[in-house]
Amino acid sequence: MKVDARIPQGPIADKWTEYKGHVPLVSPANKRRIDIIVVGTGLAGSSAAASLAELGYNVKAFCFQDSPRRAHSIAAQGGINAAKNYQNDGDSTFRLFYDTVKGGDYRSREANVHRLAEVSASIIDQCVAQGVPFARDYGGQLDNRSFGGVQVSRTFYAKGQTGQQLLLGAYSALSRQIAKGRVKMYNRHEMVDVVMVDGKARGIIAKDLLTGQMERHGAHAVLLCTGGYGNVFYLSTNAMGSNVTAAWKAHKKGAFMANPCFTQIHPTCIPLSGDHQSKLTLMSESLRNDGRIWVPARKEDALAIREGRLKPTDLPEELRDYYLERRYPAFGNLVPRDVASRAAKERCDEGHGVNATGEAVYLDFAAAIERYGKEQATLKGLHHATVEEIQTMGTAIVESKYGNLFQMYEKITANNPYLTPMMIYPAVHYTMGGLWVDYNLMTTVPGLFALGEANFSDHGANRLGASALMQGLADGYFVIPYTIGEFLADDIRTGSISTDSPEFTAAEKSATDRQSALLNAKGATPVDVFHRRLGKIMWDKCGMARNAQGLQEAIAEIRKLREEFYQEVRIPGKAEGLNVELDKAGRVADFLELGELMCLDALAREESCGGHFREEHQSPEGEALRDDARFAHVALWEQVQGDPGQSIRHVEELVFENVKLITRSYK
């Protein structure tokens, strides 16, 4: 089957403008007759729901949390990119476009990424107008910082809480529409199926998590803004509730999954401390602006540190290996995430890791504290400042930049990062893969759209820092309000969608039956145990480095685990009323299928690109080897007979007319 990405004709810089000029519109009177469902209230969902309601559509929005403000976008720390060029450092729409395509290792669609770069500046304007308190300089203008993989400062931020401030801005806009009655909000509701009528997505089955009731909701279009599926690894930086269920149910109803194996392993997270751990915590990439990453150069020193016989601060400079600065002198500690993560794994695998587990490297601020301290001494005219005075002044500057992150680190680890280097290790953070969408953000199912992290998105095989917030808000504020018109223009005479049709009845029944199957398993093992086991298989065999043998083993193990799950799981309570374990079981059941598809995808992609590193495809220096001749495409998976193992692989060839494919080098 050939998929059509519906990319507009014409030069890349004109496509979006031309498109907007010609896309069919729905008149204001007709918008009032059209219902839209938005699932998820993160940056993409909140901004889409608010913007569509402002336009006059009737919107129903759903979130599984107790309030739309809790969606996990809230936890994004570092910032949001925009091609404003406020710093006069050579930034432009083209450069943001180029950096994003290159950063994604040439596995994203040019037209979509260019549109993203084009609307990026409007996002900042919009957010400022909403009262989002971005960081400012003393002249009252907006401040910027730099992020990994680029050579300009284009990142806007609000301390280490940028996601929080942007989400609260979108939540405010959403709240305003809820108050006007333009959006009907359903908190503590989880989408458990998409309903298809005449080949189009015409509604959802949502479960009221408090009453256990299955509800039918009809609409002319359904938007999935349900985030990523990093929790398939059990341990990730995602929230505990983040799940793949909505996207996976859509997949089972015919929406193709694209590049599911493209996972971002973030280099700077707090290392694992024990088996009991429920999640991993990110330390913003912005820390790499000032922190230097190193491990002991000699294994015996690493061992001494692991055993507590040696303190890192006592190890002299010449015995430290600043491996990123050594391997990548041009970008140093600011190489993109995939490169930084693999380099950390390589050092730890070689026995240079620190922490009791041997799976951690140092992120050291001593040099930054000294540099800032000396700068302050010069500014204040203290030419004979003591080492202690310099240390104090430098610490104050580092605190003003990263205070909340340092505090968070200390709370979790009980170590003071001003005095001893932080320990970090890569962790699952973001999924570039997701539901395949065309230029209109529509999946292969007519009327079903996917926005934000839920779609396979604009990040190719590796996302650059501060680009997720940009994409979520671009999709919701500035793309979907236009592109949904092309589908809805044919629906102005359809009338409201009845939920009494056989399709709704069947979808509701199958959702209820799935729950019964889980409740009827009279095993003895709690859901979390299965989730942890799945996570371990995924991390060991489909994680930072993958090989054919491991992936084949993983597929067999996941299939076995899935079988065991349906026999051995124990879920207390009943279908009626609040049942947290039952809801969790439904999500884990979907992860158990997704995991297999991810391994299949990783197995089929016989190249290394971005976050996908196949051990068979690397240079003698251990760098990733891309294979553009065979794999410059998006892999799309079609589910067959409800069995992920039988999924059919289709491709969308990627055409690069504006960016030259080169070996991504940060040396």
Binding site: S51, E54, D66, S67, R69, R70, H72, I74, A75, K84, Y86, S122, I124, D125, Q126, C127, V128, A129, Q130, G131, P133, F134, R136, G140, Q141, L142, A158, K159, Q161, Q164, L168, Y171, S172, A173, S175, R176, A179, L210, A239, M240, S273, G274, H276, Q277, S278, K279, T281, M408, K411, I412, F478, P481, A524, P526, P572, G573, G577, L578, V580, E581
Partner: protein, 247 residues
Amino acid sequence: MNFILKIWRQSGPSEAGQMVTYPVSHVSQDMSFLEMIDELNIDLIQKGEEPVVFDHDCREGICGMCSLFINGEAHGPGRAVTTCQLHMREFKEGDVITIEPWRAEAFPVIKDLMVDRTAFDRIIQAGGYVSVNTSGNIPDANALLVPKVDADAAFDAASCIGCGACVATCKNASAMLFVSAKVSQFALLPQGRVEAAERVQNMVRQMDLEGFGSCTNTGACEVECPAGISIENIARMNREFLKASLG
């Protein structure tokens, strides 16, 4: 480590609740408080009992979903932390730990330790926004200069996570800290000034309708707030409210 947990169990909003005692052992000091309850729940499920229900999501202190009144304090001992960031190393071997839900008329208990905080959403809906539609033609962000000191103060107010610890802590179950944080964020910024008078009146009206109590300036909310929201915001809101009332 070993502890004795005394946990509030309540099967539904209108059912009577009670404290139930659970001894827990094999707790690692590196566990977070919620991970300790996770382990308890795994044990309960294996014994065929109902697990303890509690709200939680991000587990990194920012989503505001976790709550819990631990040993008589919102989010437990320690300052500027949420329950999910609290670690067992803060407790002593053998401690008896009391765990209760937020208690306030405006936050009814749903089950066990889970409460309904949608009153906060309704207060935001009453005016916690700037009335601006999505538009690609908004003036350039730098066309509006905001003094750094105002932007920083607005950020500090805006960093409220909406968890409700202030209400749970206040002897009057007042929501003044929460409401004033949002009022302040917008009152401090030029974008928010346009609707400032209307906003503060509408939000305060909704706050009263929801059944939150009055503020008697004990300052307990500020002490327990995990996001470090200052009671200066309450003073600012009172000023804004008075100014708006005088027209």
